[in-house]
Point group: D3
Chain length 309, copies 6
Amino acid sequence: MLEVVTAGEPLVALVPQEPGHLRGKRLLEVYVGGAEVNVAVALARLGVKVGFVGRVGEDELGAMVEERLRAEGVDLTHFRRAPGFTGLYLREYLPLGQGRVFYYRKGSAGSALAPGAFDPDYLEGVRFLHLSGITPALSPEARAFSLWAMEEAKRRGVRVSLDVNYRQTLWPPEEARGFLERALPGVDLLFLSEEEAELLFGRVEEALRALSAPEVVLKRGAKGAWAFVDGRRAEGSAFVVEAVDPVGAGDAFAAGYLAGAVWGLPVEERLRLANLLGASVAASRGDHEGAPYREDLEVLLKATQTFMR
Amino acid sequence: MLEVVTAGEPLVALVPQEPGHLRGKRLLEVYVGGAEVNVAVALARLGVKVGFVGRVGEDELGAMVEERLRAEGVDLTHFRRAPGFTGLYLREYLPLGQGRVFYYRKGSAGSALAPGAFDPDYLEGVRFLHLSGITPALSPEARAFSLWAMEEAKRRGVRVSLDVNYRQTLWPPEEARGFLERALPGVDLLFLSEEEAELLFGRVEEALRALSAPEVVLKRGAKGAWAFVDGRRAEGSAFVVEAVDPVGAGDAFAAGYLAGAVWGLPVEERLRLANLLGASVAASRGDHEGAPYREDLEVLLKATQTFMR
Amino acid sequence: MLEVVTAGEPLVALVPQEPGHLRGKRLLEVYVGGAEVNVAVALARLGVKVGFVGRVGEDELGAMVEERLRAEGVDLTHFRRAPGFTGLYLREYLPLGQGRVFYYRKGSAGSALAPGAFDPDYLEGVRFLHLSGITPALSPEARAFSLWAMEEAKRRGVRVSLDVNYRQTLWPPEEARGFLERALPGVDLLFLSEEEAELLFGRVEEALRALSAPEVVLKRGAKGAWAFVDGRRAEGSAFVVEAVDPVGAGDAFAAGYLAGAVWGLPVEERLRLANLLGASVAASRGDHEGAPYREDLEVLLKATQTFMR
Amino acid sequence: MLEVVTAGEPLVALVPQEPGHLRGKRLLEVYVGGAEVNVAVALARLGVKVGFVGRVGEDELGAMVEERLRAEGVDLTHFRRAPGFTGLYLREYLPLGQGRVFYYRKGSAGSALAPGAFDPDYLEGVRFLHLSGITPALSPEARAFSLWAMEEAKRRGVRVSLDVNYRQTLWPPEEARGFLERALPGVDLLFLSEEEAELLFGRVEEALRALSAPEVVLKRGAKGAWAFVDGRRAEGSAFVVEAVDPVGAGDAFAAGYLAGAVWGLPVEERLRLANLLGASVAASRGDHEGAPYREDLEVLLKATQTFMR
Amino acid sequence: MLEVVTAGEPLVALVPQEPGHLRGKRLLEVYVGGAEVNVAVALARLGVKVGFVGRVGEDELGAMVEERLRAEGVDLTHFRRAPGFTGLYLREYLPLGQGRVFYYRKGSAGSALAPGAFDPDYLEGVRFLHLSGITPALSPEARAFSLWAMEEAKRRGVRVSLDVNYRQTLWPPEEARGFLERALPGVDLLFLSEEEAELLFGRVEEALRALSAPEVVLKRGAKGAWAFVDGRRAEGSAFVVEAVDPVGAGDAFAAGYLAGAVWGLPVEERLRLANLLGASVAASRGDHEGAPYREDLEVLLKATQTFMR
Amino acid sequence: MLEVVTAGEPLVALVPQEPGHLRGKRLLEVYVGGAEVNVAVALARLGVKVGFVGRVGEDELGAMVEERLRAEGVDLTHFRRAPGFTGLYLREYLPLGQGRVFYYRKGSAGSALAPGAFDPDYLEGVRFLHLSGITPALSPEARAFSLWAMEEAKRRGVRVSLDVNYRQTLWPPEEARGFLERALPGVDLLFLSEEEAELLFGRVEEALRALSAPEVVLKRGAKGAWAFVDGRRAEGSAFVVEAVDPVGAGDAFAAGYLAGAVWGLPVEERLRLANLLGASVAASRGDHEGAPYREDLEVLLKATQTFMR
């Protein structure tokens, strides 16, 4: 019996080994990524039973994604190789930190999610369905898919987790806001960063007012995170690490929080686990390579005082 | 004053360092490519004055293409960075030789060539306009561009060179045949491989009958090449090299032949130069990295007997 | 329902990137290996349903083996992480071809196989149980395990395949001969190389007389292979490839032959498949990295004439 | 019309990938460098029209320098390949930061600069001629060249910029002082570091008194920089970055200041740009690889508060 | 005449190039190590005449150890290649710092040290015999060897230095304590870390009381070190460096202290040298790669104020 | 007691990892080389007691050379670090095989050999003094050194071996011929290639007539080698290997022949050993990295039939 199901578009990331503009690079490292793939891998490493719903192309990058998910022990009952290509993206880091991302995902096999894309009975008995705000930004069908999947989850008593994951290059703020308002009644657990709150609602307070899900987790960067549950605000300190590659840290954060929720941990422990996973992924190259395994947790949490601000 | 102008879509190639399926690779090498870019670079290295007409995106891969062409001394008066993305492709070699190519070029900035894409007076005084059969396969506009450019060349007394470069994944044989028939009256020099001849016309003889340009060069792989000029058939032996990465060898072959034509060499010498360049590119990684420089030619041609079958 | 089950000790191989004595190397590549692991992976890539029975340590190399087998889709119902360490070995190639292997496997978790190590009902309905002559060389218990597994297979109508795989550093010829004589009545399909035949029996003819299983496949190196079935000798030509890393080629050969047998192919086709797989693995680095996928076969077999001597 | 012209000796740098003594290294990275080359590249990336005057050998390293300058869009009207070799140097970083430089530049083609080495009309209409204190240290002819070029600039109303760039291994302090005193009347803009001031004049105050050019920029390391203009002292804070490879940071600093001057920015903005460029180059490997492009500036300057001490 | 002799088991270390679990790595770097080998190399680099007593296998890793020691100028009169294998170990660093070590040393050639393993007259005239607490943990014979060697040293007026080097995976605390009590009367100089003190004796004070050698050096991590000599406590500040690979830092620390003692430096200078060497090794990859050479010391000690807390 | 002494200039070689012009390379491999260093290392690996006489700079490349020679067990009694720099060179291979070498050795510490550079009593009891034709080409002093060393050898009954090693870029043919004529009376064993014979004397026969030393070995490339001893011509077949990096193969050939002479092998065996060593070095990267060790010989010579043409 699965504990978490997540759905979305897998991507392959191409990343230079050294900081600097891509134009000067001759070698790129290849990583499997995609927000929901990252969440699935991080959960599986913690021993949470997790299934991933999605599609990749019948090409080599699709095979790469499939092998990675299988290797990590993610359930693939509703994962499919489909006609079309697997989305990819290139990213760069510059010496002073900024840098750009270049997507090659438009029209990909993975973006072709629509209502009915999987048998919703797959959700029976599952604790959480986790989605991100990237999928609804891909196409009208994918948006409909997101709402449909949330409804099917609701119908089966599955709690819905949504990571806002706002991507400016995929849709304008007003569209994203529209989707969030539409989806909100179905959301039990919402992940939101301060930056997203400001981009979408102007101010954090405004965003928190607009997005009043039963459980809201606000990621505040180096200041840690807040969780609003049952009218109470819990705090979690950030871990101090040198961020080698921040991509995927937010996904690992969500996975850590979800694992804590599945295990019935109190909210402060959920936040601690979330921050631990986020720090671990940020401190290593790749989109989820740094996610810890269950057997690492004891040592890591013991060492926690070293990392807590 | 330029001697050759070529036009087409630049691409960036991502290639694993070792043979084997892409799914198992963690590092990819990055090369600048695209058939006409390869021709332009190979000509520039030989000291032929060459201009490249085309577009790339306003992204980092576009900057990479531009820097490479500028470094090689190709004239870029009608090269442009344009909105949109720069096309790329991944390729693999398998241990026993086969392997696949995966394109990410649909809708790219580089494929948006149309009649009027450059000021045709750029062709004034030029010896050859070189095009490939890839451009007309990209879109109806690009097909129109190819015919338009050939007409503008003709009008100015510029000889037109066309490399058939048939790509099965871009268009069906009958469409390609249609284009060739339409274009043929404007073509002065045609490059064709035996494999293309068979794919498009069933038999080599048939292809040669159908494609009776004033000068036709038939590439016969390890058997060398034939040039049909003024009703005479000249032969050129292939160079025996271990093909490390055959991509781009045909482009270098065309460049070698064109350079010989620009320099007024007899047809046998043109073929010898063509085979030399083709072998040199096939024997090294990258789409044109192995193209020799003018100062290499003396040594290479002296060493020729070693390589001639 | 599984079609093949194989059992043995997984190993991790550490291999320099360039030829030369290990003493001068600063970087080693890491590969998953072990004869039966290689067979399992090669079968899984061809789409044969295969299970692997064995153990690795509760260490990182054990996790590496497990992830690889899971990624490749091998059934792991009777694969276990166990106390102890995972065996490893270093190998080198010298410029003129020779080179040595250094084992660190004595007392490993993987060598602790004994009768009862898995539930023999796992073999119900399986077509082949495949073993190698390495396991019985590891310890008396492992030898007993081999005979026990063969008996359990026989009892369930499962055909037994045995690759002689003689390792001089693990046991003397007379012990190996003793085991083979003891095991032979239970063997339906025997793989043997000319070199092994000479080491163990002095002459090939002598070996063939002594080892008269119903189906015997004699690997003759560059001369190809013979299969003796029903009193008939079938021949298979070797593929001509540059051997980049011959380790694992024999395992892939066995896997190709077994796949052909599972699919009911005639013996000549089995040999062809066996030679194809062996060549593909020999032509690439790693112990099974070069094993082809089912979807590669069509192209590869078409290209066969190129490779056939 | 060029905005800046610079002249000097290009060098090729060979640098290990990891800290540690060179004696233990087996791989070296290759970078194009030389103080004035670095300034030219950094200016060109910012969109300043810049020409480089100098020579390299007719060898491969010379070709490498030429290709790099051409790729970056530097004007090469008075750049020449000449008989002789291209200078190179090896450098190392040790784990605790110190390390040595080993020059192979004595007698190089690039050091053969003498009065008349280029047509001084090249300077017509140019805003700045930029030189460094390395060239006059190379030979008496090169010293004469520096003074000659400054005079020709003066004659044409071109402002002269001089970076002291004192190299202890090339000449003793008294010779350098002598040159500076001789050159000073022709210098409009002088770059000097605190360390240089102390080596050459004992104390910073002393150096500032001796070197009273109309505009003097004093680089004070982590303490930022001071610019003395029109009897006023402007301050610029340093950017806090982890220095990965400090070589070239001073050259980038000068380029940033010069760009600001060309663009008519107020002195505080010139310093800010200078510090930004210096930090960006120090934070990445290579002698100028980290120099930002014009399109990076907006993001970088926005992010500035993060970096400002 | 040798100044220091050390004895122990050489090891080869296999280390991934990037942080992260070993299971995900495809390349490992190879380093020569082993606590006493590290001490010997660090001393040799400082110009101290040092001999290493020990054994390695007749395999390639043994040849690697021998070449490294010979290259560094360590005296090898009583170093031997012996039947058996050379011990190795794999280590990993995780993104948040923890990580595991996996030994393959049980039964190695190097662990077979026993009384009489070398001619004790080798110690004549030597200033220090340096041993570590790893050797007595390898086997009863190796424990006897340690005591025997200390006695032979005593008999010849050679001072005995012992680094506690407690390895939990090799023996339990009570056994280690037993050995230390047994050995203590023969020890002139003892190295101990706070962590070891707590593991073995519960509290640092307790350890210091129990281990009252004439000279005791307590390593206190980032807090520096204390030396207790003649009833006086001297302090040495730690150097602040980013620890890239802490393995071997303690060995380098001991070597620095020993070198200072050989040179007759006052205790504060010995500590300064010890901290300098420890920092230098911790700041670079490999088990002793970062150890400085005598000619580095002047610059390093001058730069000391930068590093001192 | 040494068996062979050799003297000359050590060099460090910088070599790209892939074929292609140096201008396009970003990484260079570092190898220790120099003809006589190569001979010394190859002899030491075979167990021949060999001393190397020469100098390198007090720089890091000099330290690299010294460590390598010490690691290989070469006697360094008359090896010195001296003021000045260590010579280096860059080389490249092009896809079709040609390529250039760029020297940075003029004025190096290593080229400063002159009569009296070592105590000639070092030669007492030695079997062979081996020199190459490179040293006399470096400077008049170095030429005098060569003749002086040969005389000192003669005086002590040491046989003199000279490898012609003609380098066109160092001196013209007539000067080299002059030296050879001057030196010949002192030469007992001369190594000469067909190519050198033609460059220096026009025809091989002419060279053999002019250079009539008691023992002359003529290297004939793929055709093998001839040895003229006592009026008899012995033949040795070449080994067929793929030449990965031919530099140093001639030095290894000389070392193999010398080892055979030291061991008193018949001339055919000397040639076989010479060819074996030459092939082994040619088949691997680096100037002597591929030289085999004594313990390799048995296997290699057994495998010989595979390699003999």
